[in-house]
Subunit: 301 residues, 2 copies
């Protein structure tokens, strides 16, 4: 750790980006946006899921494993240098090549002195039309983790994880005061008119629910813009709207739906303490009665 | 069960009430409202938490255990007769006297033929200023349950339970398609102006989150009106706003904040099927990695 005590207030920065087909350009754009976030006062900065490329999971193509990179590798090296320069914590999603045929959808947490604190590997991996992630990513095997950074104990979860209360709970129980969700979520163009508002509202709501149930800050960092890497498919319109919710679920900052943004918000541990004292949900958990959570379904229970 | 197959669509009814000091009058008012709900088409009808009295937990007074009743007892007998008459399922909260010195905050589920299917006993019991429930109620010991009624498999949870994702999850894993939350929640008058909107929004949001995460209907049934049973205290302004959320978290019916209401909404199991097919969250749970949920906190993990 760069410091030994955490400040009670810290500004966090969320980089909402568009991605083009050139990975090197995406990396440079992410570096530039990270500098802008730091210049705006952010000391913990988070990039969107798989920031270095377009969302390639719209089709299953083994050649696209070429996009993967090792850890340490280009992304972590570039952002380790930048973190040390900016004195900022940076959360860097990585399409991780772990071994031939073993890849993960991961995020590296880099401390403010440039040290690589560790990885989170996406635990819940989706597979839906145009989100063919089970083809690309082995399920994470590191569990739900926290990272003691110079500016606070941080939890990192990734996209599909955001629908799972267990992921937020276990990360919060390990002492995270803020959960970052690098994300790539958007609309199928043919669904947007009929279902789009409800889908995006559900995405926001379930994450605000995690903030409330656990008394933590939640930061969702989405990409934005239309990507159609497969011409014969309709593409995905990523809906932006990155946001930060406080420990009562109040949205304290939100990015637009249609353009890039460097969003900042203040995490205040005194406010978190106040909320948890007054709404002491963690006190009353019935830990004697939660068996069954580790089962798929309970038709016989 | 009154029938052996469940209809795919059923209208549910939520009785949002004010309560006065006369328990017999509250019981009669609840019966009248239940009749109105049935007349409006409701086949599953739910009353608010502790419907038969004002919210007595605003002070700790051992004499108030006189308000408790056994099961079977006046509430269940009255509503068993009414259920059979109306051919409706009725969820009846009860301040349950189980034995001298053993009381619960419970809800009886009565089937459409008048049979008492069973009890849910509130598992998560709060204790906050003017909500001194730990004094009155022993923690529930029946776990998280479902009830196979004539009109569907119903889960019942009570008020403070609504802040706990584990309660909703375990009930949904047992096959509930709808979760009913009889509730008594309101504002401390001195907090309403500054915190009231955020508090009520959090209450709505966390329950919508349960609907989304589990793909179930959620029905919250609150009381309404100002109750000040302890003259030297400020009282509680119960905020009404009973609602029904669909399996995507969309609020499909909501009662007003300032008056009684008999709210009805349609539960559609085909819609639930569609939502769960398209957002298959239950498919991807990492049941190998949820250990720790049954711990209070994980500082050493």
């Amino acid at each position: 750790m760069a410091e030994t005590t955490h400040p009670s207030r810290v500004t966090i920065g969320l980089v909402q980006m568009t991605m083009g087909p050139d990975c090197a350009a995406n990396l440079r754009a992410a570096q530039d946006a990270t500098r802008r976030a730091a210049a705006a006062g952010a000391r913990i900065i988070c990039l969107p899921e798989l920031y270095r490329s377009q969302y390639f999971c719209q089709k299953e193509d083994a050649r696209l494993f070429d996009l993967a990179e090792p850890v340490p590798g280009p992304s972590t090296e570039a952002f380790q240098a930048l973190a040390a320069e900016l004195r900022a914590v940076i959360i860097v999603p990585v399409f991780e090549k772990r071994a031939p045929g073993v890849h993960h959808n991961s995020a590296a947490v880099i401390d403010a002195d440039g040290a690589l604190l560790g990885l989170y590997r996406k635990m819940h991996v989706p597979d839906d039309p145009a989100y063919y992630e089970k083809f690309y990513f082995a399920p994470g095997d590191l569990g739900f983790r926290v990272f003691d950074t110079a500016f606070g104990r941080v939890g990192v979860l990734i996209c599909w994880d955001q629908w799972y209360p267990e992921a937020a709970r276990l990360t919060a129980l390990r002492g995270a005061t803020m959960l970052f969700y690098p994300t790539a979520i958007g609309w199928h163009p043919h669904e947007k008119a009929q279902y789009g508002a409800a889908q995006r509202d559900a995405w926001t709501t379930v994450q605000r629910g995690h903030a409330i149930a656990n008394g933590v800050y939640v930061a969702a960092v989405n990409r934005v813009g239309f990507e159609r890497p497969v011409p014969e498919q309709a593409g995905i319109e990523f809906w932006g709207m990155s946001f930060v919710a406080d420990p009562q679920g109040v949205i304290i900052a939100q990015a637009p739906e249609d353009r890039e943004d460097v969003l900042t918000a203040e995490v205040d541990l005194e406010h978190l303490e106040t909320i948890r004292r007054n709404w002491p949900f963690l006190r009353d958990r019935r830990i004697d009665a939660y068996h069954g959570i580790e089962r798929r379904f309970l038709e016989d229970a």
